[in-house]
Subunit: 820 residues, 2 copies
Amino acid sequence: MSVNELTVDIEAIRPFGPARSTVTARPLSDAQLKQYDDFFSASLYLALGMIYLRSNPLLREPLQLDQVKARLLGHFGSAPGQIFTYMHFNRLIKKYDLDAIFVSGPGHGAPAVLSQAYLEGTYSEVYPEKSEDDEGMQKFFKYFSFPGGIGSHATPETPGSIHEGGELGYSISHAYGAVYDYPNLIALTMVGDGEAETGPLATSWHSNKFLNPITDGAVLPVLHLNGYKINNPTLLARISHEELESLFLGYGYKPYFVEGDDITSMHQAMAATLEQCVVEIRAIQQEARSSGIAKRPRWPMIVLRTPKGWTGPRKVDDHFLEGFWRAHQVPITDVRENPKHLALLEKWMRSYEPERLFGTAGHISPELKAALCPTGNRRMSANPVANGGIVKKPLKLPNFRDYAITVDQPGVTFAASMQNMGGYLRDVIAKNQTNFRLFGPDETESNKLARVYEAGKKAWMGSYFDEDKDGGNLAPAGRVMEILSEHTCEGWLEGYILSGRHGLLNSYEPFIHVIDSMVNQHCKWLEKCLEVEWRVKVASLNILLTAVVWRQDHNGFTHQDPGFLDVVANKSPEVVRIYLPPDGNCLLSVMDHCLVSANYVNVIVADKQDHLQFLSMEDAIQHCTKGAGIWPQFSTDAGHEPDVVMASCGDISTNESLAAIDLLLQFFPDLRIRCVNVVDLFKLISHADHPHGLTDREYVALFTDDKPIIFNFHSYPWLVHRLTYKRPGSTNIHVRGYKEKGNIDTPLELAIRNQTDRFSLAMDAIDRTPHLKNSGSSARQELLNAQISARNEAFENGVDPAFLNKWAWSRGAGKWKEAA
Amino acid sequence: MSVNELTVDIEAIRPFGPARSTVTARPLSDAQLKQYDDFFSASLYLALGMIYLRSNPLLREPLQLDQVKARLLGHFGSAPGQIFTYMHFNRLIKKYDLDAIFVSGPGHGAPAVLSQAYLEGTYSEVYPEKSEDDEGMQKFFKYFSFPGGIGSHATPETPGSIHEGGELGYSISHAYGAVYDYPNLIALTMVGDGEAETGPLATSWHSNKFLNPITDGAVLPVLHLNGYKINNPTLLARISHEELESLFLGYGYKPYFVEGDDITSMHQAMAATLEQCVVEIRAIQQEARSSGIAKRPRWPMIVLRTPKGWTGPRKVDDHFLEGFWRAHQVPITDVRENPKHLALLEKWMRSYEPERLFGTAGHISPELKAALCPTGNRRMSANPVANGGIVKKPLKLPNFRDYAITVDQPGVTFAASMQNMGGYLRDVIAKNQTNFRLFGPDETESNKLARVYEAGKKAWMGSYFDEDKDGGNLAPAGRVMEILSEHTCEGWLEGYILSGRHGLLNSYEPFIHVIDSMVNQHCKWLEKCLEVEWRVKVASLNILLTAVVWRQDHNGFTHQDPGFLDVVANKSPEVVRIYLPPDGNCLLSVMDHCLVSANYVNVIVADKQDHLQFLSMEDAIQHCTKGAGIWPQFSTDAGHEPDVVMASCGDISTNESLAAIDLLLQFFPDLRIRCVNVVDLFKLISHADHPHGLTDREYVALFTDDKPIIFNFHSYPWLVHRLTYKRPGSTNIHVRGYKEKGNIDTPLELAIRNQTDRFSLAMDAIDRTPHLKNSGSSARQELLNAQISARNEAFENGVDPAFLNKWAWSRGAGKWKEAA
């Protein structure tokens, strides 16, 4: 098997021994070494204190059981390596006056970043009761992972954090998102080797192909080969040194290794390596900026291999702790039950010499702090970029009214709503060349938004071919970010927004489910930020969904899933908004509204094909502002109670609902139909449950509480029931929507299978309107025949009958009019 | 910038010119070359025919507009490279009698695999009307991407497919899943370079660290550098040759390159390279199997770089087609409007010489077929493994009753339900050592299932350290698959099941959202399979969710999300099942049921902590068989109408609901309470909408149609409303569940914030039971006080008051009893 043999030098991938490093300089003096040793010890002590102590924070007296927390929580495993990286980078912040943030990728990494924020003084500034003394430290310890306190991740309560790390996989994409358009910013980013196994992380390394050394800042990734996950070794810690190096060369980086556990030599190696990386980053930027030529370089990155739970006991009783997975979480779990282990913990904690380091005053010496920590906003825990709302500049928005589609008569003009809105987005990009980006997984052109490229091409630092001139729309300084990874797009957008900018993600509707979990996590982040006093609101995360279910007939069943709305609707009403604009002017109005808003996740669902237009711009603004309303121009109940309410939400759904009204009026010219349209989905829910919700009185004024309602909905029908179950008259709502019936169809066939087509809706109305139940039977039969005949024609030709698309509002005039 | 300069030799990454390949052998004779040329042409012709033609399939007459489909759909771009790979691998199947399947990763890859299946004869065997003659070919063409026909992906209708490729990113994990435990199987797997940008794909390359060369088969990945996605170049096609090679060396493969567009030399290069890979695979397996030593080798893989739309016109008018993104989908889009382009299409199609290749009989010559195609089940399109139900062997299940938890008295015994079930799973693994695997993202031990390792350790082909002996549970031939990638776990499991085996995924509840989209797609696959006559049902995909929301108080808000159930509930009732067993014996019964079932996605939600036990095994079986029922042992309405129904679904939710009943009975000993428990969530929905649904009559017999129902639900409360909105008495249901209120809490505090704790539920019952509204006010106040006092105690100590956990059923005896 020699040809394919793969040899792994085990000793070369063990995390022990004197430092093995690519860079061999020793930049620290003995005095400095002592300082770093002390600072490292102080920080490690704090990390352990958070996990274990509820009182006696500095062990000024022998440790008693009742001073230990009743429930031990928190993770020590990755803290030493993270602390080590953070503090050595501080030297370079000071030396080179760097503008930097720290992104903590490993799960439950809070003890590392909190201890550093506390030592830097930031923590006590934002939480004065957690002061830099015994009393403050006791509170600082107690409230970590304690009910009513703060979590074990870098949660929104953590100063300097834009990345919580509760769900793993997004540290690199967040970091890149944060440095785009901030040419002086460096995001020092720890990547856990567990996290590195996730799909989103594995592809996000490629973000370097989108980073412009002239206009963007830099990410300095530090892959922390901590060796273990919860109960397993990590993959990257167990492949050969050569494989690991190849992998990162393949990802386009220049990897530097720092490996070992001997503290003194590791200090030197890490200090030297970080400096080498900073120097290279600055040289790359300097060269690009002075030459004006943006090329993709090999950005440096670091592989830091240290034992998990580094500096802890190697063994507890007969079991490995340091350098094994048992060091992952609470390193010694039974100190409450086992007095020997309590003593062991105390000995371990005292080995960091808390009394010497924190002194009688309960804080590290001002000299040590001054020597090692940056000050003010140069502290990574205090960088305003990590509280993006502070540095956020408002978008310069063109007046969306200028892009209005002319609608003289409702329901007779066809127009390309999405393409038209693309013109508006183009000008948003034009006016905000360092403050707004459009993101998408290779679908922007397919989504009919290609006009944006007139103001900002696709960012591309890969190689260029001659063919690219033929409609490639690529540029090193592009404003549109396209990679076939919804995860990376979403991660970039989140990082971009959380660091104070604005953006929009456009995606096919079905595949937005790929990032359900990421959006969930962002919603949770936003909601918690509302509870953190010093956090300033960031721009909303805007998601435009198109290639919608009703036009995915030809792509088939895999492309039909409008269920992202259900996922979003489960999140807190404080932070989620869902809009389904029925036509082009409403789309403009909604988009403008979302771009202006703050601290929400806004989801906009709109089809990208040509559409019948219903509202003039002024009507559209009024309608979108109300969020839901009666459309008198398509209603026949003026001044009366309606016989039936025909309601809709979603552009294609609205089109069919109006066509159904038109059909009904052909047969029943005197029928009192009320046409209701919903743009803002949360109008349906009670105002007690969502700030946008209508009162019951407002709701009944639209929908009645006793008339049949035929509600044509864009998504799964039960979402409407879930929103309206408490409403008066809720049992009268008959909702049609996608119910997982699809295959390779035409739009008509797909709609018929889900009973959302005009014929089905009209028949529904007949069936449910009391006085039509008998008198309507012949009309019903005619509708059924028309449906069958249209369906057969579609099957024969492979396309729907033309009249379905050429349909225009005739107020029941009895024939399909040709639309303009 | 020399130090970080990255040079890309553009010519080396262009897809044009004579073949550039790592292997330089020329294994094909001139006669063979001619045969491959002909076969390639025939297949390409079919691919174009599918996209364009509705009649005149062999162009026996000049092409007329009405012979072209009205709507042009389908993707040509990746077809040539896929066809090329498929047909050259056939040579090796014949030569070495290989057992192989083909996994088509690139999106919309059906024209490639369908054309091959048609040429091999399989297609006409399963769909006799698509016969191998003019008439059959016409139907074959017409029904491609045509309403009522088949899709443009490798859908379930495609013989030989286990991977649809509608949503991108899963080809490699599916392929590995398929070859685990099939030592002789090779999965030839095309990976699109678009797909390769997705996160799930990017990490799935690491699957090679879990492949045992003795007991598993092999995956031969062919990364198809097709160059473009929909409208963008692909990343991997634009990095340097050196980076690309490093990347795959880093992933642990031995990459072979085949690059160019000169057909003759490419034939030789691909034939030689595939053979080299097959020889290496066999050598690796041979060495491992003869030595009995399973080591991780460098498995070979191929990088195939050909122009997108290879063999098509290089330019149409002034625009690039072949070798550019315009070749992605329908290569010439306007043949219906532009007669010149129609002529161009005809010329292009005729360049493949259809009349010569398919002759007067309308099929390729038997000699050509015999020379190039395998026969029978050796054809990749006919391999029974790709119709997994055929080869599926039933699981050998231990009798789950043997693992029963003794419950002499309901609600007084504590036991570890999950750990106990782990013993059952251990024996499932023991009895099915080549037919069942357990999958999980590094959470199996954390999920209290560590007993499984007694029968099957964790599969691990990475390096071993000494520490691993200290509880590492690693083995090259392990049965438990753990990687910190839910995507990879799910992909492996899907591949394993679809190829005829059985398995279970265990995951934390919140992070299962990471694979919402994958599970959606698998549900869609299963549902479509039901419509395909020749597909035999495969084992169910079983998902066990634990680390549930109500015990994620300490991990905080990011770990609290029970919303996966909403995603699953949106899928077709034909294929989804959701179970929430209330205790340990129910968990055993449900697990056994799921493992026996076929063609479903079963989701089981159960907490992993110790729990009060409610039902003996026989009662549990009866309860789970019914799926929902009255629990008389916790009810006081025997023989009467109840005053109030206390219902629950979910183990922790049931515990609190019962505690609430106990509390209520302390205050109101005569209250007629009916206790109802739901295990099978779809019992709640109408039987008209789901096969498990109760009839209204059955429903009312449980819940009444006029009494207040206090329903404590595991997940978001509105899911219950969505399932019951049509039910009689639906307005009486008052549902409590998680409503996105959480932080770092204790379990009690988390429950209180969401009003799902026993005190809140008891107060709810008082508020909603008519005759208690006034008389219950002092009891209500006492309950409120007790709640406040427990809450304060929890905040002070950091843990909940002990009585909450020591609670046991007392039938209102007035004090908390100590549980056994």
